[in-house]
C-alpha cells in the first residue's frame, strides 16, 4: 500500500453534506458542523494570509538596519495587527474550529455537535469580530502590540484600541461557544460503547483545549472591557495616576494569554497523535499518559502566567514559584514527545505527507519546548525576555508546532473533508519547504535574542551588527511564504481535479473513517456502536489469512 488506494467506482448519486443542498443560504444558514467547519476554514485562511502579509512587511523592513520601508507608526501597527490577527483570528480558531468542528462529532459517533445553532452563532460572532478588526485596520489601525499593556493602550496611544478590543472581545465569545459545544458533545453525545478510554486522543486534546477556552477567555474579555472603559469612559482601574496598578493588568492579561498558547498547541498535539499511529500502523504508546498529559497541560497551564513578568516588577518570591510551576508544565509536553517517539518503535512506517508534517512538528515543537526551558530559568529570562529569543521561542511553538500540526491534519483529513486526494508529490515538497523555510526564519532569531536585540524594534541602525542574522531571517520568511501558499493552491486544485478518495484512504482507525468520504449530512448512515479500542491497527492490518509467522 504505497499510495492511498483509489476507488474508481462512480459515486455521483450518493448524497453527501457537500451536495445535499446548493446555494449560498444553504451554507450561511447551515447548522451542519461540517459545513460550519468549512466556513471557518475559508475565513481563517483569509485571516492567515492577511497576518502573513503583515509578517512579510515586518521582515522586509528589518532587512536593513535603518527604518526605510515604512514609517515607525506603520511598523508598530504592522506587528500589532500581525499579532492580533494571527493569535485571535487564526491560531485560536485554527484547528478547533475547522478540524475540531468537522471531526469531534464524527470521532465520538454523533450526528452533530450538541448545539448546532450555537455553533453557527459562533462562526457569525467570529465573522463580526473579524469585520470589525478589518474595519479597524483599514481606517487607521492599532499600535498597542497584541499584548496592549496599560497605561500605553489606555491613556497614551492615539490609535483605535477600543475598536480592536471590541473585535477581540467578540471573537473571544466565538471561541468560548466552540469550547462549550465541544465539552457538552464529548460528555453527552458519545456513541454507545465509546467510553472515555476508547476516545481518540484528538478528542482528549480538544477536551483539554475547551476547558482552557471556557475558563481563560472570559478573563481576557473582562480585561479588554476594563481597558476599553478606561480609555473611552475615563474609568481608572489600572491608571497609575490614581494609584492603579499596571502590573495587575499584566496578571489578568497573561492569566488568559499564557493558557491561550495551549489552546493553539494542544489541538496540534491531538492531530499528531492521530497521524503517528496511523502511519506507523501501531497503537499509540502509553495511551493514558498521552491523554492525561493533555489534561495536565490544561490545568498547569493556568498556574504559570506570571513567567511572562519576571522583570515586570513582581516580587522575587512569586517569580520563584512561577518559575518552578513552569517546569512542572514542561513535563507533560516532554512526556508526549517521548510517547510519540516510542510509538514509532517497531512500527511499519510510511512517509506520506501528513507523516512528514508530523515529523516536522516533532522537530520544531521539541526545539520550541526546549527553548522554553531557557525562558523559565529565572537568571536567563532576565536577559532574553522581550528580545528576539522570545519571538523565536513562541514562533517555534505557535507556528512550528501549531501550524505544522494544522497542515498535517489538513492533509490527513482532506480526503474525508473534500472526498478528493491531494497531489502527494507536491504535498511532500511543501512539507519540506515549510520545514526548511521555518528554521531559516526563526533559528537566527534565537541568536539575535541572546545577542540582545529587543523585539518590536523598527529601526536598528544603532546596532548594525545585527543585520546579517536579520537578512537570513527575512530570506527564510520568503521561503516559508512559498511553503504556505503551495498547499492552498493544490488543495483548491484537488477539489476540482483531484482523484476521488475512498472512504478510508489511509486505512486509518477512528469512527470518522468508517463513514463515506465526504460524509453524509448526519455523518453515519447507521448509528455506530463501538466495540473496539482506539488505534486498533493490529485488527485493521490483520490479513484475511493468518500470517503469524511474520509476527512471531
Amino acid at each position: 500500500m504505497g499510495m492511498p488506494t483509489v476507488v474508481p467506482q462512480q459515486r455521483f448519486e450518493r448524497e453527501t453534506y457537500l451536495n445535499k443542498e446548493y446555494g449560498i443560504w444553504s451554507w450561511l444558514l447551515t447548522t451542519d458542523h461540517k459545513r460550519i467547519a468549512l466556513l471557518y476554514l475559508i475565513s481563517i485562511t483569509f485571516f492567515f494570509f492577511i497576518g502573513g502579509f503583515f509578517a512579510l512587511l515586518i521582515r522586509l523592513e528589518l532587512l536593513t538596519p535603518a527604518g526605510d520601508l515604512v514609517q515607525a507608526d506603520t511598523y508598530n501597527k504592522l506587528f500589532t495587527q500581525h499579532g492580533m490577527v494571527m493569535v485571535f483570528f487564526f491560531l485560536i480558531p485554527s484547528i478547533p474550529a475547522t478540524l475540531g468542528n468537522f471531526l469531534v462529532p464524527m470521532m465520538v459517533g454523533a450526528k452533530d455537535l450538541a448545539f448546532p445553532r450555537i455553533n453557527l452563532l459562533s462562526w457569525y460572532l467570529y465573522i463580526i469580530g473579524g469585520i470589525i478588526m478589518l474595519h479597524c485596520m483599514l481606517t487607521g489601525g492599532v499600535d498597542t502590540g497584541w499584548t496592549f499593556y496599560v497605561p500605553f493602550s489606555s491613556n497614551f496611544t492615539n490609535t483605535k484600541f477600543v475598536e480592536a478590543g471590541i473585535a477581540i472581545f467578540i471573537a473571544g465569545f466565538s471561541s468560548i461557544l466552540t469550547g462549550l459545544n465541544f465539552v457538552v458533545t464529548i460528555h453527552r453525545m458519545r456513541a454507545p460503547g465509546m467510553t472515555w478510554s476508547r476516545l481518540p486522543l484528538f478528542i482528549w486534546a480538544h477536551y483539554a483545549t475547551s476547558i482552557i477556552q471556557l475558563l481563560g477567555t472570559p478573563v481576557v474579555a473582562i480585561t479588554i472591557v476594563l481597558v476599553a472603559c478606561e480609555r473611552a469612559l475615563h474609568l481608572g482601574i489600572f491608571d497609575p495616576k490614581l494609584g492603579g496598578d499596571p502590573v495587575l493588568f499584566q496578571h489578568l492579561f497573561w492569566f488568559y494569554s499564557h493558557p491561550a498558547v495551549y489552546i493553539m498547541i494542544l489541538p496540534a498535539m491531538g492531530v499528531v497523535t492521530e497521524i503517528i499511529p496511523c502511519f506507523s500502523r501501531k497503537r499509540i504508546f502509553g495511551y493514558q499518559f498521552v491523554a492525561l498529559s493533555s489534561i495536565a497541560i490544561a490545568v498547569f497551564g493556568f498556574l504559570v502566567w506570571a513567567h511572562h513578568m519576571f522583570v515586570a516588577g513582581i516580587s522575587v518570591y512569586s517569580a520563584l514559584v512561577f518559575s518552578f510551576l513552569s517546569y512542572a508544565v514542561a513535563l507533560p509536553s516532554a512526556i508526549k514527545v517521548f510517547n510519540w517517539t516510542a510509538t514509532l518503535y517497531k512500527g511499519s512506517i510510511r512517509y506520506d505527507a501528513p507523516m512528514l508534517y508530523a515529523f516536522g512538528f516533532l522537530g520544531l515543537f521539541t526545539i520550541g519546548g526546549l527553548s522554553g526551558l531557557f525562558l523559565a530559568a529565572l537568571g536567563i529570562n532576565v536577559h532574553v525576555t522581550d528580545t528576539y529569543f522570545v519571538v523565536a521561542h513562541f514562533h517555534y511553538i505557535m507556528v512550528g508546532g501549531a501550524v505544522m500540526g494544522y497542515l498535517g491534519g489538513m492533509h490527513f483529513w482532506w480526503p474525508k473533508i473534500s472526498g478528493k486526494l491531494y497531489p502527494e508529490g507536491w504535498a511532500r515538497l511543501a512539507a519540506l519547504i515549510v520545514f526548511i523555510g521555518f528554521n531559516l526564519t526563526f533559528f537566527p532569531q534565537f541568536v539575535l535574542g541572546y545577542l540582545g536585540m529587543p523585539r518590536r524594534y523598527y529601526d536598528y541602525s544603532h546596532m548594525p551588527e545585527f543585520q546579517v542574522l536579520n537578512v537570513l531571517s527575512t530570506a527564510g520568511a520568503t521561503v516559508l511564504g512559498v511553503g504556505y501558499l503551495l498547499p492552498m493552491v493544490y488543495f483548491l486544485w484537488s477539489m476540482r481535479y483531484g482523484k476521488p478518495a475512498s472512504d478510508n484512504p489511509w486505512n486509518a482507525a477512528g469512527l470518522e473513517w468508517k463513514t463515506a468520504s465526504p460524509p453524509p449530512t448526519f455523518n453515519f448512515d447507521e448509528e455506530p456502536v463501538v466495540t473496539w479500542e482506539a488505534y486498533n491497527y493490529d485488527e485493521l492490518d490483520a490479513p484475511p489469512q493468518a500470517q503469524e509467522v511474520t509476527v512471531a
Binding site: R188, L235, L252
Partner: protein, 236 residues
C-alpha cells in the same frame, strides 16, 4: 439509509416533537442543555472573577478610602434591590415548578412577576446611578470626592484618587451585572412567549429550567456585590 432506522426516527419525532434531530432521546437533549448552561455559568464566574480579583487587591491596598467611598452609596437602595432579587429567585423556582406540573397560568404569571422584579431592580439601580451622577461620583473629569472622612479613622480623609478606583470598580461591576439582568429579561421574554404559545409540557420544559439557572446565577453575583460594594465599613 436503512428502512428500519428511518421508521424508528419518525416514531421518535412523533412522540417527542421538541426532540432535535441529532439527539438520540429527550433525556440526552435535556442533559446536554443543562450541562451546557452549567458550563456557561462557569465561564461567567471567570468573567466576573477578573473584577473581583481587582477589587480584592485594591480593597486591601486602599482600605480606608474604599470604606469611605462605599459609605457614600445609598445602602437602603442596595438592600431593597437585594430583597427584590431574592424574591425574584423565589418566583423563578415557582415558575420552574409550574412548568414541571403543567400549571400554565401559574407559569405565565410567575414569569411576568419575575420580569417585573427584574425591571424594578433596574429602576432602583438607575436611581442609584442618578444620585452618583448628581454627587459627581462618576469617574472622569468632573469627579469630586473631597473631604470625605474615613469612617474607621476619625480625622482622616479619603484620597479622591483611590475613591475614583472604587467608583470605577463599582460602575463596572454593577454595570456589567445590570447588563446581565437586561439579557435575563430578554431570555424571560422569550420564555414568556413560548409559555403563552403552550410550548412547555411536564416532559419538555428545559428552556424554563436553564433560563432559571441563568437568573439564579445573576442573583448570586448580586449577593456578592452587595456586601462588597455597599456594606464595607458601615458601623451602627
Amino acid at each position: 439509509m436503512p428502512e428500519s432506522t428511518l421508521m424508528g426516527e419518525h416514531r421518535q419525532e412523533q412522540l417527542h416533537p421538541e426532540l432535535l434531530h441529532h439527539f438520540a432521546d429527550p433525556e440526552q437533549q435535556r442533559n446536554s442543555a443543562s450541562l451546557g448552561m452549567w458550563v456557561f455559568l462557569g465561564t461567567e464566574i471567570m468573567f466576573f472573577g477578573g473584577m473581583f480579583c481587582a477589587y480584592l487587591i485594591y480593597r486591601h491596598w486602599y482600605f480606608g478610602d474604599f470604606g469611605a467611598a462605599s459609605k457614600s452609596i445609598d445602602a437602603t437602595l442596595g438592600a431593597t434591590n437585594t430583597a427584590v432579587l431574592i424574591c425574584s429567585s423565589l418566583t423563578v423556582v415557582l415558575a420552574v415548578w409550574a412548568a414541571q406540573t403543567a400549571r400554565r397560568a401559574l407559569l405565565i404569571s410567575m414569569l411576568v412577576v419575575t420580569m417585573l422584579f427584574g425591571l424594578a431592580f433596574l429602576g432602583i439601580k438607575g436611581k442609584e446611578y442618578y444620585d452618583k451622577f448628581e454627587e459627581h461620583h462618576v469617574p472622569g473629569a468632573s469627579f469630586s470626592f473631597n473631604n470625605v472622612p474615613i469612617p474607621s479613622h476619625p480625622g482622616e480623609y479619603a484620597n479622591p484618587r483611590h475613591a475614583q478606583i472604587f467608583f470605577s470598580l463599582y460602575f463596572m461591576m454593577t454595570g456589567i451585572h445590570a447588563l446581565h439582568m437586561i439579557i435575563g429579561l430578554g431570555i424571560f421574554s422569550c420564555l414568556l412567549y413560548m409559555a403563552c404559545k403552550g410550548h412547555f409540557t411536564p416532559e419538555y420544559h428545559t428552556p424554563v429550567e436553564i433560563g432559571g439557572l441563568y437568573w439564579h446565577f445573576v442573583d448570586i453575583i448580586w449577593i456578592y456585590l452587595f456586601p462588597l460594594l455597599y456594606l464595607i465599613d458601615r458601623h451602627p
